[in-house]
């Protein structure tokens, strides 16, 4: 599903970062662990095509992501990937439901309000569907972000520090949701974090 070779990234300040080669199979759940400042987020952005590596190659489903144009990367990401960030961001003028529908239309998939509500139901935030996202708690927002990442049945779900802003109980809930939803959608899950609480939840672990 995801293979990388010889990835290197040079920051503007001149610091160079080399990443170990990865090979993550279809449906596998992988935890990439590392302390802050070790380039976890950079690696995740390279894997998802948000940033280009200085050297090396990323293969997604045997296609070279790094060789694509920016627009093609954007389209591929919309079609194949769902992403969750440490702090979830939403389009503020839209409601929870509209934010999720926006994910469908930006990925050029048919807009399906029923599927959206069903997913919100699974994540137990269906009653928040018509609320603006800033009216929700952080835990609820993170669940909306998960719903948005999963609505297009992605092949890969990337999560960047999805739990670091959450307390223990919410962490447990969110990570279980992520895993179960990824399984339900048969998606490959890649989580990068420094959060040691997640260590026991993943068998495949990569240390940066």
């Amino acid at each position: 599903m995801i293979r990388t070779s010889g990835l290197k990234y040079t920051y503007l300040q001149g610091a160079e970062m080399a990443f170990p080669d990865l090979g993550i199979g279809q449906g596998e759940h992988t935890l990439i662990l590392g302390n802050s400042g070790c380039g976890k987020t950079t690696l995740l952005h390279i894997l998802s095509g948000l940033r280009r590596p200085t050297e090396g190659e990323v293969m997604i489903m045997d296609k070279s992501l790094t060789a694509m144009t920016v627009s093609d990367q954007d389209r591929l990401r919309g079609k194949l990937m769902g992403m969750i960030f440490q702090i979830p961001h939403f389009v503020k003028s839209l409601t929870v439901r509209e934010n999720i529908l926006l994910a469908q239309s930006l990925a050029q998939k048919p807009v399906d309000s029923d599927a959206c509500l069903q997913l919100l139901d699974q994540l137990k935030i269906r009653d928040k569907a018509e609320k603006k996202t800033n009216e929700l708690s952080v835990g609820e927002q993170q669940r909306v972000a998960i719903a948005r990442a999963l609505i297009n049945d992605p092949k890969i779900v990337f999560a960047d520090e999805p739990t670091s802003a959450l307390d223990d109980s919410n962490t447990e809930i969110v990570i279980e949701l992520l895993k179960s939803q990824a399984e339900l959608h048969n998606a490959t899950l890649v989580v990068v974090t420094h959060d040691q609480r997640l260590k026991d939840n993943f068998q495949n672990q990569v240390l940066l």
Partner: protein, 438 residues
């Protein structure tokens, strides 16, 4: 959730910014469009009432005032002229003059001017008598369609006139003969809709009566100058003696001391001699002659200066409104960089973000344009209501000009211009940087 809807939601998400941009844009567009409308209607109204009049003769004074009072019934007349002074111009055998139309002014009824004139007026203004007939005798009146509608008058109604052109109380010619409505004109869209027509001779009768009975009006010009000749007229004109006074030529038989206000002339051809006539009247007589087309052009060129200032002001407002759209979009980028990045994460491309911002600018511009057009047409309608009462002109806001289409393209262009820099900025957002900091 297509881009257009998203752009719309983003706009209404910030109602105050949006309101400011829309109000400015609407004001600017509204002002420009209002100037177009006013200009167009003024020209139209002035042209409709030109009636191919080549020359206007009257008492000395401001030529523009004379034209406005005698042809457009806006201003006060410059004064009266005696028949003997203008007799040559009334002669049907004059070598240069095709036709002459006498105009007597000075009285009114409930704000509508009573004009002493002859049957020729029907021909000149393409008028048709809708009901009844045209004036036959003195004290007969044929009223314009608007007069009939406003005052609810019909044939057979009688009334007393007031001295002066405005509707002032206490100046009624109480002891004068009643006027009798004998006909109503079909609407013509000219100033004639707003007039009460009678014979020139009627004016003399009204005012000679007063001389006998009413000291208050001692200072009227006609009365001061009146003399022994009036006795005859009282006899002639109040008596309905059977001969009609609706032909211009009948004025030739009248006493030379009697007065009218203006003569409107149509020439046989606009040759050198005809053109010379104006100068020779102005230089060699106590009369004044003026060419309507020239005076009206002068009026328009004076108005143009005022209009230019207003138009400049309107363009400044439109420019500022464009700036306000630009600033509100541009300043929103900083707080929206996360959601713009997130849109890229969800599969939106740089182009998506670019067009989102352009659409937001366009929506503001188009709504602003619609507001402006509404504003200008409603204002025009209001002006029309006021103007038809005060100036006897028909203005309304229920028509559209092709200039307004140009204005629409201008608005669209401005909307795009105002949003293109924010749009480029949005499409260049470094999503990886933004998201790793957030």
């Amino acid at each position: 959730m297509n881009l257009l809807r998203l752009a719309w939601k983003n706009i209404i998400h910030k109602p105050l910014n949006t309101l400011l941009s829309l109000v400015l844009f609407g004001l600017g567009i509204g002002l420009i469009s209002l100037l177009f409308l006013l200009d167009h209607q003024l020209q139209q109204n002035f042209e409709k009432n030109l009636a191919e009049v080549d020359l206007v003769i009257g008492a000395k004074g401001s030529p523009l005032q004379m034209i406005l009072s005698s042809m457009y019934h806006i201003d006060a007349p410059t004064g009266n002229i005696s028949l003997q002074e203008i007799r040559p111009f009334l002669n049907p055998n004059h070598p240069l003059i095709k036709e002459a139309l006498p105009i007597s002014l000075g009285d009114s009824y409930r704000g509508f001017r009573i004009v002493g004139t002859t049957k020729t007026v029907l021909d000149w203004y393409n008028l048709e008598v809708d009901r009844g007939s045209f004036v036959q005798h003195d004290f007969d009146v044929t009223i314009g369609a608007q007069v009939a509608r406003t005052l609810q008058m019909s044939e057979g109604d009688r009334f007393k006139s007031s001295h002066g052109l405005a509707d002032a109380e206490g100046l009624e010619h109480d002891d004068a003969h009643d006027f009798k409505v004998v006909g109503i004109l079909a609407p013509s869209g000219t100033v004639m809709d707003q007039l009460i027509l009678t014979t020139p001779q009627t004016y003399w009768s009204v005012h000679s009566h007063e001389e006998e009975g009413d000291d208050e009006h001692d200072d009227h010009d006609h009365e001061k100058e009146s003399d022994a000749g009036h006795d005859d007229h009282d006899h002639d004109h109040s008596g309905h003696d059977g001969h009609s006074h609706n032909e211009t030529a009948t004025l030739l038989d009248e006493d030379g001391e009697e007065e009218i206000t203006n003569v409107l002339l149509r020439f046989k051809g606009r040759n050198f001699q005809a053109l010379n006539m104006q100068r020779s009247i102005n230089e060699n007589t106590d009369l004044q002659a003026a060419t309507p087309a020239i005076e009206i052009n002068r009026l328009f060129s004076m108005m143009n200066d005022a209009e230019r200032v207003l138009r400049l002001l309107a363009f400044v407002i439109v420019f500022v409104s464009g700036l306000s759209i630009f600033i509100s979009l541009f300043s929103s980028l900083k707080e929206r960089k996360y959601e713009l990045s997130i849109m890229r994460v969800m599969g939106g491309t740089r182009r998506t973000l670019f067009f989102l911002l352009i659409m937001e600018g366009l929506i503001l511009a188009i709504i602003g344009f619609v507001l402006g057009i509404l504003l200008s047409h409603i204002t025009m309608e209001a002006i029309g209501t006021i103007m038809s009462a005060d100036y006897r002109y028909d203005f309304n806001g229920r028509f559209f000009l092709k200039e307004e289409l140009w204005l629409l393209s201008g608005a669209v262009l401005l909307g795009i211009l105002a949003s293109v820099i924010p749009a480029i900025q949005a499409s260049r957002t470094d999503i990886s940087d933004t998201l790793s900091k957030g």
